[in-house]
Subunit: 194 residues, 2 copies
DNA sequence: AATATTATGTACCATTTGGTACATAATTGA
DNA sequence: TCAATTATGTACCAAATGGTACATAATATT
């Protein structure tokens, strides 16, 4: 294959674009701003992403989700106390809770914004969140079989319960930013497992 | 006071505008679309809402919240079994759960969209949600004093727990739209009260 | 009836939007 | 070395954006 070589790394510019989308949302993130953050020109951009801004956003969703899922599954796999680790995953949401730089959940934000803008992307973001739910289900199954969790509720329902907690915290933290309060919500929600 | 009389009812056009904002979000709701829904001309609009689209949106937030709070407090006041009524309030979220016409929570949506667009409106929407939280707190206090609720957790924390459930369901329902699943999340979340 | 006041509808506008066209540059393979 | 191919940067653009200016209409007060 011939041709002039690229001066950028595709993954890297996707990650940079994701930062902008995460901060501003899809619509409010202007093409100019995105190009600036990605540090590439219009020519290169529209050649790489034939679908323009929309395709770029879709790629950021996929990339973000993949990274996030990997981090979660590896983290759980490596953890001694898997229940504690799981709770820690939620606690981490409260760390950057200062209302000024509160970006919420990348996928959750997308579901909301795309709901009445682009059904296809809404469904995609929803599906990627569902993959996280499945990861929760897997963890819960393990915890139940080892007896670390007493609840005999089905892992599927408990997975939904957890992703719902995830979604909730990511909204609630953007209202108040009171980290302690958020942690008590998580504590309370996790009581179901004890 | 002299002058030509208005041909519209301000409350009514605020409600119509709110419908559009609820469906599309703030940015994606075009001025043209809003005017069409409100059925007034640009002249009248910019005379009534000097702050333009932003002021209109702010008014919809206030109006919506007021209506919603009234409905909630009256509903609770009239209810025999207040705990059952409270749960019903959450169950109602699952009724229009079909993913196609899923608008989420008006205030929650605003918090998300305004987060990195207009801090002032984000805070306002967050505050209006907080007023709902306070309503939950009041209900829980009552339920605790009558012994209808066993949990001795503080009503404030439980209120936060409930508004967080509210926020969560409103996101989660936009991912799957499986009403039964949503109801089991609510059931599970309400177990804390029994 | 005249005037002051407020409401309405239309024409207009600067800015910003995402996106395209195209000339040029930098490679590889023949 | 010369095509063929791919990447880059710039100039450009149609459409849509929210908003303003202003002439006109309808009312209350005097």
């Amino acid at each position: 294959m011939a041709g002039r070589p690229r001066q950028f790394d595709e993954i890297e510019i996707i990650e940079r674009a994701a930062e902008v989308f995460w901060l501003k949302g899809y619509e409010a993130a202007s093409a100019e701003e995105l190009l600036m953050a990605m540090n590439i020109g219009k020519g290169s951009f529209y050649l790489t992403f034939k679908g323009g801004k929309r395709e770029l956003f879709e790629k950021t969703l996929e990339h973000f989700s993949k990274e996030s899922l990997e981090k979660l599954s590896k983290g759980i796999a490596a953890a001694q106390d898997k229940l504690a680790y799981l709770k820690q995953v939620f606690y981490e949401l409260t760390e950057d809770a200062h209302i000024s730089k509160n970006k919420g959940c990348y996928l959750g934000n997308a579901v909301v914004e795309m709901s009445n803008l682009d059904r296809e992307l809404q469904l995609k973001a929803g599906y990627l969140l569902y993959k996280h739910e499945l990861e929760f289900v897997k963890i819960i199954s393990t915890l139940q079989s080892t007896g670390a969790i007493k609840t005999n509720e089905s892992p599927e329902i408990l997975g939904k319960y957890l992703i719902n907690l995830w979604n909730g915290i990511n909204i609630t933290k953007r209202c108040s930013g009171d980290a302690r309060a958020l942690r008590s919500i998580i504590d309370l929600s996790f009581k179901i497992f004890t």
